[in-house]
């Protein structure tokens, strides 16, 4: 089947998840209580705002990921053609990988890969 199958699968996913949730809302018993909606946190009321600033480390990893992910996308068309292209493809990718590896080494030396 063609690209239409993706629309079909999205419809299936919405039907499956949405249908299940709706069905459970229809048949499950529910009761309201002022305590019930509180965030779960070891039994005592939550202190302060929940949507807080979090560790900058996650952001650093996201940035390095972005660089390497773009690299990976570039490598897909190369990978398809590599065997047919021969030695030239290997030399090319060694240069490409070397530059990226230098980037990784730089991040490593700068301590970006260390969890704080």
């Amino acid at each position: 089947m063609g690209p239409g199958s993706l629309i079909l699968l999205i419809i299936c996913g919405v039907a499956f998840a949405g249908g299940g949730i709706l069905l459970s809302q229809l048949i499950a018993r529910s009761s309201t209580n002022s305590q019930k909606g509180q965030p779960y946190e070891c039994g005592v009321p939550t202190e302060g705002n929940t949507w807080i600033q979090f560790n900058v480390g996650y952001y650093l990893f996201a940035l390095i990921f972005l660089i390497f992910d773009v690299e990976l996308v570039f490598m897909y068309p190369w990978a398809v053609a590599a065997k047919a292209t021969g030695m030239f493809a290997l030399i090319e990718i060694i240069i490409f990988m070397f530059i990226l590896f230098l980037g990784l080494l730089y991040a490593w030396k700068k301590g970006a890969l260390k969890w704080m």
Partner: protein, 362 residues
């Protein structure tokens, strides 16, 4: 070839021809889509029930327990009973939660795992859409899943959820690189991104046997990284029970929680299916060169059995990991990826390229 009798493409083509003779093309398309949709939904339900039961039985065996044995014969209806229980639970939405995102996240997670099913060949000719960029499609769609997890964690208005979602996000995006590089190593050898081409290239031997040590290394990296991608133990930082209660789905209850739970199991199936397709030959039977009689017997086993057999073997390995290794800390997790797996897989990709160009494989 004996393989021909189990070729599903002839059956589907004959069915298409038969329908086309009877009604208009729009109706034919609608009927075929309905059947395919029913199959996808059926597979979802089947996998959910089977994998939950399998997980409980495997963990019971690992810990020398009996596991579920009361509901139905050998406890086989236990998973159904659990589903009914979850269906009857009240779905809570906490105060101050972002209601739209909170309710949309489980649906998004399910949609993503549904979409990845498209290019996977369950048997010879048994595929929803065999698109020519299959591997790229899989790696593109699977990375949407992390958005659902981040959405759930952020919208829950709970600190545990937020921390769990952030950890999970960092972990999934990091390990995606190693998964991508190990997928690329097979693409280099095959020269195609299409899943059916990759399977057909393994007709005379699976890549894990043909590809020597570099492919074995990338298979090991793939298994480790995909365990991390699916948030399974020992990499289950996202839902480390002892520190974050439930991680990103702490606030979810009832059916919405069930959707996350199901999506996790479906994702395990999907990564194992991809591993089985790329490294273990997909639906290709096991052949030993020279032994014609043995090969013919292997050909008699229908292709879906091969596919599901290999996939469930990999699933068993991933479940085995859970009861063998202790959970890593978040810093160890990121160190493992960025300082070990990523450099190793980069060098390994170069080795595979050299091997492919020089023809040093069978």
């Amino acid at each position: 070839m004996l393989l021909k009798i189990f070729d599903f493409s002839t059956i589907t083509a004959a069915f298409h021809l038969w329908l086309s003779g009877k009604m208009s093309s729009v109706l034919v398309m609608l009927i075929e889509m309905t059947i395919a949709g029913m199959c996808a939904l059926g597979l979802f339900v089947f996998l959910g029930l089977v994998l939950v039961y399998m997980e409980r039985k495997v963990s019971a065996v690992m810990q020398i327990r009996i596991g579920p044995n009361r509901v139905g014969p050998w406890g086989t209806i236990q998973a159904v009973a659990d589903t009914v229980k979850l269906l009857l639970k009240e779905g809570l939405t906490p105060d101050g939660a972002d209601k739209f995102l909170f309710n949309f996240a489980p649906i998004l997670v399910i949609i993503v795992s549904m979409l990845i099913l498209a290019p996977i060949g369950f048997g010879k000719g048994l595929v929803i859409w065999d698109l020519n960029i299959g591997v790229l499609y899989i790696s593109a769609v699977s990375s949407i899943g992390v958005i659902g997890i981040l959405m759930a964690g952020w919208a829950s208005n709970n600190k545990y959820s937020l921390i769990g979602a952030m950890r999970s996000g960092a972990q999934i995006v990091s390990y995606e690189l190693s998964v991508g590089l190990s997928l690329i190593s097979v693409v280099i050898l095959t020269g195609s991104l299409q899943m059916s081409d990759i399977v057909n290239s393994q007709a005379n031997g699976w890549w894990i046997f043909k590809g020597h040590i570099p492919i074995i290394i990338s298979f090991i990296i793939f298994v480790i990284a995909s365990t991390a991608e699916t948030n399974r133990a020992p990499f289950d930082m996202a839902e480390a029970e002892s520190e974050l209660t439930g991680g990103f789905h702490t606030e979810y209850a009832g059916m919405k929680f069930a959707m996350f739970f199901l999506a996790e199991y479906i994702n395990i199936f999907i990564v194992c299916a991809i591993g089985a397709t790329l490294f273990l030959g997909g639906w290709m039977p096991f052949h030993i060169g020279g032994l014609t009689a043995f090969n013919d017997i292997m050909d008699y086993i229908p292709s879906p059995f091969w596919f599901f057999g290999k996939t469930f073997f990999l699933i068993f390995v991933i479940m085995w990991f859970r009861w063998t290794f202790p959970r890593l800390r978040v810093d160890q997790l990121l160190t493992l990826e960025w300082k070990y797996l990523l450099p190793i897989s980069m060098v390994n990709t170069l080795l595979v390229t050299l091997m492919a160009i020089m023809g040093w494989y069978f």
